[in-house]
Symmetry: D2
Subunit: 307 residues, 4 copies
């Protein structure tokens, strides 16, 4: 299997974990979801991310989900697996398991206890030692982790740990961080920067030097198209598309309930069979569902006007 490299670009969709109403993993939906993501133009997948309800799976379930997805992907695109955990033993076990199964690399978010620059740097250099030659993604997501990583610290880590090949950029606000990292001489090599935040700033992020997105907005085709248009120099066309999807993207980006919205949309689109979240995790209210329905109707109307 090809490993993840600094050349990762395009859209790595963060996959949800489909469940049945009784809480069991819905493997059939996993297959359909993989097909859907690849058909929309995803250049990679990321599984067991924070939004994938990874912490709610047992180790055996995590292994089975990754195996099923890797099997279905069958080498067509690289698959990154989230392995963040409080202890190195857990990270190591999960990493060995998924790399043996054919993953292209892993993703590591910082534990919430890290505060100072030196603590963060020490953590990631130790992660680099632990993972050996396994390439990994540094997940920078302060709103969820509580850890603020400056551009300078990211550069120190990426320059000293060459297996840290990709930044999942999810700071908010984070545009200046992209600009700082893309400044001449800051990074020894041009690592991959893929952006999160549900795609809410993708047009500006591309302008600032991002290579694409790594997030799970339920209409990945928007992100695929925006990246494509920007790469083709058709920025205004990219922005028109982006704007059409923004009302829904904004709604999906609500913290806590965002995953329920995403699954509801994916189920509506026939990608997964059920919009069930595993416990603990709340269902979407009827009012919220109606709001999503209306946003999708308006989005479709707007997209028609654009064509």
């Amino acid at each position: 299997m090809t490993k993840l490299t600094i050349d990762a670009r395009g859209v790595f969709v963060i996959a949800v974990t489909p469940f049945k109403p009784d809480g069991a993993i819905d493997m059939e939906s996993c297959d359909r979801m993989v097909d859907f993501y690849l058909e929309t133009g995803a250049t990679g997948l990321t599984v067991l991310g924070m939004m994938g309800e990874a912490p709610k799976l047992t180790v055996e379930e995590s292994r089975d989900v990754v195996a099923r997805i890797l099997d279905r992907v069958n080498g067509r695109v690289p698959v990154v697996v989230g392995v963040s955990a409080p202890g190195f033993a857990q990270i190591d076990t999960l990493t060995r398991m998924v790399m043996d199964q054919g993953a292209a690399g892993v993703m590591v978010a910082p534990p919430g206890s890290l505060r100072t620059d030196d603590q963060i740097y020490a953590y990631y250099t130790a992660i680099g030692d632990l993972l050996g030659d396994v390439p990994f993604v540094l997940q920078d997501f302060p709103l969820a982790t509580g850890v603020q990583i400056s551009a300078g610290v990211i550069a120190r880590i990426m320059n000293d740990v060459p297996t840290c090949v990709c930044l999942k950029h999810e700071d908010w606000p984070g545009l200046e961080k992209i600009t700082a990292l893309r400044k001449e001489g800051v990074l020894n090599q041009r690592v991959s920067i893929l952006c999160g935040n549900g795609g809410m700033f993708l047009t500006e992020e591309m302008e600032r030097g991002a290579d694409g997105a790594m997030t799970g907005f339920a209409y990945p085709e928007m992100m695929v198209d925006v990246v494509r248009h920007f790469n083709a120099g058709e920025m205004e066309r990219g922005r028109d598309l982006f704007d059409a999807y923004l009302p829904l993207a904004r709604f999906e980006q609500q913290p806590g309930m965002g995953l329920a919205i995403r699954k509801y949309v994916l189920a509506r689109r026939g990608v997964i069979a059920h919009d069930a979240l595993r416990k603990p995790g709340g269902a979407l209210s009827a009012a919220s569902r109606a709001e999503v329905d209306r946003l999708i109707a308006r989005q479709e109307k707007r997209l028609k006007e654009l064509n």
Copy 2:
């Protein structure tokens, strides 16, 4: 001066505090800003809010700014003043001062140390006792304060403290909270609910039962129009307008740098003379300014298409 009541509705714009490049308060811009807000259709103003750089003012400066604004408003709309402070003596002093000057009421956010329901309830009942017959707004803004207030606790407070006449609703996500509070029998009287979050959810908030907005988006006319259209039953028209402004609203809503963006837009529009923030507070980068310029150009184009 008329006092704030449970009938507050429409758009209470959160006013910025205009500074000169040297950090002095720009009183001329205060006047022009007041005129601008009222011309756009604001039904009220809120000054010395968190976004108004209130904590950067000395007590004397706070008094002078409030006096200037009240003088310019001259009773045309009610003016609410943010008085949040760590101690009751400070809250009391500032409240007496601004009520004497002619404010319609005050706004109080919870101190970050509050955690349990009982602590929050006890704080606001004590605030009610302290303020006497001065009407006040409960500011529910967990992203900034770190304090989560459930709908049930808000109801307990508002039912037991009749001078708490208005909720500045700024939870995120917060739509279910509006629905919960508007449910039959939850509140003894139909208090005012005005929403924040830069207007990012105003269409859904109106649908759920909000009475309007209390936030500072640099195009208050969007909020005024959305509220007007919803009140007139023209929801789709309201949503069309909302969508046209959303790309910029999203950009302005970035935490930390949002105020710099807002001031930059207000200065561009000629409302205030300078986009200066007082120290400590950073300036907008050239790249960010260019992004705002582009967003405004696209917004104007879109608005033309709508008419």
Copy 3:
């Protein structure tokens, strides 16, 4: 195996997890540690607690450690196992596993995302449903979890979930909480309250109505003796003993480095073979080790004077 009940009292020592210098689990030290704890008079053991480096173990390691300890305990005292995890699937799997192995009950701390009273109550009633007839300990440790649980919420949970038989009380300050819970009519039944915080407030906690301690101070005999003296009405004798150990207890209670100190002392006492912490986790400096040595020497001198 006997299950944990509301009659739990005395000292449930929080066991450390002994490692070899290379990071492997030191099973021989596990055995010696169990013998040591029981010889000092422990009435129970708690394993895989936060201080036991539980999050650094893989699931297989967790199972092996629990099995080894249960085997060595051999039914002499009840063993509680910490099963806190982000998702119910993980909690369920670990609980089934350790209850099958012969554990007496499990312990559950709240996830850090909980804030309002209702969220906390809902979480623990769902945990009660999930665990079925497995008795469990509610771990109230705000300094580590960030979750503040009021006495009223604890009472609601314990009254509605009869399998929640014990409170591991670790709030700081927390004395008033014990008093509130022991007030006539607050709790339907007299549940067990065992206190944490390294034993730093054990004398006052006993006075307020605690049934003993559940914490891991490296001299469990202090806690055993204090509880014994208080139960025998010899409070001043208990306080004299407590004071003799306090300088070291205070030193061990430093957050973050406390576990390293505890393991250093246990290794010095010959209880475990190595004071190694698993990565990520720092070693004790030479200066800190010298400070502990001096504190122990002074403690021994003081204890001699008391006899």
Copy 4:
């Protein structure tokens, strides 16, 4: 008036702010308190610290309290005034006011929004610019501020801002930080390090290179004696004294309620007339008062045995 310098050592007692039962400032108690602190051997005073209920005072009250205390001190020892505030205008106003009144310097804690090393460094260099030639104390108190400052960042600040002459060291754990700062070549000049945390680690702090204490334990004579004995090379004598006071120091160090305990003790000792806290702030329960009484009785007995 003499300014604060890098030679500050001994015990700078953090003064409480005495109130009457109705919440008014008790100026007579201010005088008696100053006399008491100086009689116990304080080498300096710090007023309007976090524990002095400073945020509960109005600006006028702050001025009056500082004036009264400076008047009573009458130049006998340097007086440091806490001026931490969200904005530079407030810090500047308060600093000018108290320096004009005769303060020796000011103390500044970091605002809770600071996270990265660069943010912290930038804040304190800006503070240095703002304050001009006014010497100031950097207050490092992560438990209260949420801001973690590494030894390296403190060194960068103190080396680049020569008016930052003293570190109020209140990290927990923080002993390694003192050692790091006292290492040859880290600091350009030997700045003053005075320790907080209620004196709970004073013996180890002195051993590591601290110059004394800056905290408010209600028996300042303990801190004065420990510092004196350590400076005289009589470490064991210092530790004996420390241990005698430790049970009460531990009790007073409970977060939130610590100030109520401190005021109760000071009132018991006749230093201040009332143990009243200003609102919002809770009174000590009868049970807590009884615990303090018992701790003092045992402390007096122990001190007698030592003599």
